[in-house]
């Protein structure tokens, strides 16, 4: 329907945050009843653009047309009135509210809740039937799985009678199966005449689910194409601005002796829930063991237990001796002294002190090393600064200013600081969590090469990532985690996303080793 009025038309949208131009002169047109993909790297400006459409930010310039009418969207209320619903990457749900309470929040029918709640109960029942969106309306959000929480977000939008639904990176927290289910739901919504915008950085999803796709790079729109007429390679090139190697170059591994042996490792969280339910594996010198799994299935707890951050039970032998899993001996510094480095999953809350300078961060966790001390009482700040300068040069951290606070570096450069610190301390075993989350492609290649170089130097690496591509391309062996357990070990040469996906969903492909 080339002549039909588009559901959404954005004309010349620009937005800056201080010196950072997040969106520059963006134009998009989304036909009614289609699924439109927006793809781009982290920081390309996708989320900002959609937040503008949802009234969360105000654009500095540009026009928004909804169904052909010029519409001002100064706040989320206006967006909702214009029929726009948004499912954010980080859900906007109240954890200790029920599904019903979350759904009616902001669109209650009157000052008292009773009638709103019963109406919502009826509407939700209808919506669930229509779109395969089953959730228990009386369940508390904190008791729901991530997949179900996402359904609540979609129900919220539909309850507000949204005709246009925006989903921001909706599959990051889903198993491949759950993602397929989500795409079925989206297809059903499209068939009912709803317009859907899907923001993602995963090429596969764009190719599978969308009708049209827009590509963003560094705040500008660099391409608008029909999905059927493009290829993943072309999209990737548009995203990055040059040809990218989607494969990582690496030679075959030559695993040596066992350096880390984990037996029946168990972790309970603060609420007493068992998050790690008896994990066992061995890690050899000169190999990368990749841990695949959907976020929240115990990978974080595994890293925390091995890294000495969280108490655990079971037995871990490292270089022939037992590692303490509880008490004063189980802490990050003791692990480092023993020879276990750790690039944590969340660099901004764990790996770095964001207000500290780069040089202070370069000593974080290593601040008691003898080489950093001037005498019995004082640290040798000059030695740390010089050390930092050297490491910044080696890892191409930009800008190479040791006195700059960590928060003033980009995500990729922050991560390089952490990687430099942990790899250069020359650990026997390196724990690596989500090494490239929120990192630009250039830095990803760099970090991947460093990890492989460490392996080739005969060190052992435990790699946790929710990005299957990353696991498949880096690992020498893959273990799949689900619900706090290892579902099985696979050889990356002899497996595929399908098989791993089933394991990630808890469908056991043969007994765990």
């Amino acid at each position: 329907m080339p002549n039909a009025i588009p559901a959404i038309e954005l004309k010349g949208i620009s937005k800056s945050f201080g010196p950072v131009q997040a969106n520059r002169d963006i134009n998009i047109s989304v036909p009614k009843g289609t699924i439109h993909g927006i793809i781009g790297e982290n920081g390309a400006g996708k989320s900002t653009l959609m937040s503008i459409l949802y009234g969360f930010y105000k654009a500095d310039a540009g026009e928004i047309l909804i169904n052909g009418t010029l519409t001002a969207i100064p706040d989320s209320q206006s967006a909702i009135r214009a029929g726009i619903g948004m499912v954010f990457q980080h859900f906007k749900l109240v954890q200790n509210f029920t599904v019903l309470e979350n759904v009616i929040l902001g669109v209650e029918d009157g000052p008292l809740l009773k009638s709103s709640l019963s109406k919502a109960r009826r509407v939700l029942a209808d919506l669930s039937r229509e779109y395969e969106l089953d959730v228990n309306p009386d369940a508390l959000i904190e008791d729901l799985s991530v997949g179900h929480q996402q359904r609540v977000e979609i129900l919220k939008a539909l309850y507000r009678q949204a005709d246009i639904l925006i989903l921001d990176e909706p599959t990051g927290v889903l198993t491949p199966d759950e993602a397929d289910h989500l795409f079925r739901i989206l297809k059903g919504l499209k068939d009912q005449g709803k317009t859907i915008i899907l923001i993602t950085h995963k090429l596969r999803e764009i190719m599978e689910a969308t009708d049209n796709v827009s590509v963003m790079r560094r705040g500008t729109m660099v391409g608008n194409v029909k999905t059927a007429e493009t290829s993943p390679e072309q999209l990737a090139e548009l995203m990055v601005g040059r040809k990218v190697l989607l494969e990582v170059e690496k030679g075959t591994a030559t695993p040596g002796e066992i350096v880390l042996k984990v037996e029946n490792l168990r972790v309970r969280d603060e609420a007493g829930v068992e998050r790690l339910k008896g994990i066992s594996f061995e890690l050899r010198k000169g190999e990368i063991l990749g841990i695949a799994g959907v976020a929240g299935n115990g990978q974080s707890e595994l890293l925390a237990a091995l890294g000495g951050i969280h108490a655990a039970s079971g037995r871990v032998t490292f270089k022939g001796g037992d590692l303490p899993l509880t008490g004063a001996g189980a802490n990050g510094r003791a692990r480092r002294d023993a020879g276990i480095g750790h690039i944590p999953e969340d660099r901004q809350s764990l790996g770095l002190i964001m207000d500290f300078t780069a040089w202070e961060n370069m000593a974080f966790g290593y601040h008691t090393l003898p080489k950093y001390q001037k005498n019995l009482f004082e640290m040798d700040n000059n030695a740390i600064r010089q050390d930092t300068e050297a490491k910044m040069a080696m890892y191409d951290v930009r800008p190479p200013i040791p006195t700059l606070a960590a928060k003033n570096f980009s995500g990729g450069n922050q991560q390089k600081i952490v990687v430099a610190r942990e790899i250069e301390s020359d650990p026997e075993v390196l724990l690596v969590g989500q090494p490239t989350r929120g990192v630009d492609i250039g830095a990803i290649e760099f970090i991947h090469k460093e990890i492989i170089a460490l392996r080739d130097a005969g060190k052992a690496i435990l790699l946790v990532s929710v990005e299957l591509d990353e696991i498949l391309s880096l690992s020498d062996r893959i273990a799949v985690m689900f619900d706090g357990q290892i579902m099985g070990f696979k050889d990356p040469e002899n497996t595929n996303e399908r098989e791993l996906g089933l394991l990630m969903a808890g469908v056991s492909g043969g007994a765990a080793k």
Binding site: F17, Y54, G55, F56, Y57, D75, S76, Q77, S78, A79, I80, M86, F88, H90, K92, L93, V94, Q95, N96, F97, E101, N102, I104, L105, G106, V107, E108, G110, P111, L112, L113, K114, S116, K156
Partner: protein
């Protein structure tokens, strides 16, 4: 301890517990909305001074009450400005306002009455007078319950009954109304409210202003009900004790009633060395009794609370994510 003494102590418990209850409920609204308020103390003090001053000057306790509420709300507004509009540190704002209140109340009272920072003593219509509940006299003869009704439940001033009624009212508002739903949501996850198209700022301001009104009641009751006038630092840490009670109550209204009455009971005991000595059979020094409510506050915070999870967004100014 005989029954009559027990009744006297229970009577004092209610009288001393009510300012704590009002302040505790005040804190409940603010903290449920995600704004910490260590400044309950200062608002109460401000209300006590304003109400006593105006009541003394006009001879009407009602105009005094209105002035007390206005004084407290002025401070609430500044706290709102600092913690909502300017995203400042809520703890520091509260502490600062407590200091300002501590000084400014004396400054004003001194400049008006020149009685060493006290207001003129209040009499007659300038005070809240006791109200006898129906049949209090008639039922006095009924064994056990009659005296309980007469001594403990009847004979308080109007604000005592207002305070008690505010407990079910607060419960209803919090759990049965649209406003309560949004209030609880904004204290747990303000982004959920913002993305639902409801103004986080307006909600939080409204909660902070309710806190101002309730602290106003608490301060007015202290100066015009419990006592007959304002004196420097007359709240004596009650704002902080009310906060401890709020944590003990885990930010819930009925539990707040229980917690504040417990603290009221401690304060009533501190006023009766004879009873304490009769019970523990040791002579207790007066300073120890004075310190009793504060010590018990620490004990409750440390030992009895267990795991108290405050509203998740508490104390954090709301900034849209980038």
């Amino acid at each position: 301890m005989d029954y009559a003494t027990l009744l006297q102590i229970l009577d004092s418990t209610i009288r001393l517990g009510i300012p704590l209850l009002l302040a505790c409920l005040a804190g409940l609204y603010s903290e449920r909305a995600g704004i910490f308020d260590i400044g309950l103390e200062g608002k109460m003090l401000m209300a006590a001074m304003s109400s006593a001053t105006v009541a003394a000057l006009t001879g009407s306790v009602w105009i005094g009450l209105a002035a007390g509420i206005a004084g407290s709300m002025l401070f609430a507004l500044v706290h709102g400005l600092a913690s909502i509009t300017f995203r400042g540190n809520q703890l520091i704002s509260g502490v600062a306002l407590n200091f300002v209140a501590s000084g400014i109340t004396v400054l004003i009272a001194q400049s008006i009455f020149a009685q060493g920072g006290r207001t003129a003593p209040l009499e007659g219509g300038a005070r809240f007078l006791p109200i006898d509940l129906p049949f209090a006299e008639a039922l006095q003869g009924v064994p056990i319950l009659g005296p309980l009704y007469y001594e403990v439940i009847s004979g308080h001033s109007i604000l005592v009954y207002v305070g008690l009624l505010l407990v079910p009212l607060t419960w209803f508002v919090l759990y049965r109304t649209r406003y309560g739903l949004r209030l609880r949501a904004v204290g747990e996850n303000p982004a959920s409210v913002d993305t639902a198209g409801v103004s986080v700022r307006n909600l939080r301001y409204s909660a902070v202003m309710i806190t101002g009104v309730l602290c106003g009641l608490a301060g007015a009751y202290m100066a015009c009900g419990l006592q007959a006038g304002f004196g420097r630092e007359m709240t004596a840490g009650r704002g902080y004790i009310a906060l401890a009670a709020l944590i003990f109550a885990k930010w819930r209204p009925w539990q707040a009633l229980g917690a504040t009455m417990l603290f009221g009971f401690f304060q009533a005991l501190a006023l009766r060395p004879d009873v304490v000595e009769a019970v523990v059979r040791v002579k207790v020094p007066v300073p120890a009794l004075d310190a009793l409510p504060y010590i018990l506050t620490v004990v409750v915070l440390a030992g009895l609370v267990g795991k108290a999870i405050p509203p998740r967004a508490g104390g954090e100014p709301y900034v849209k994510e980038r």
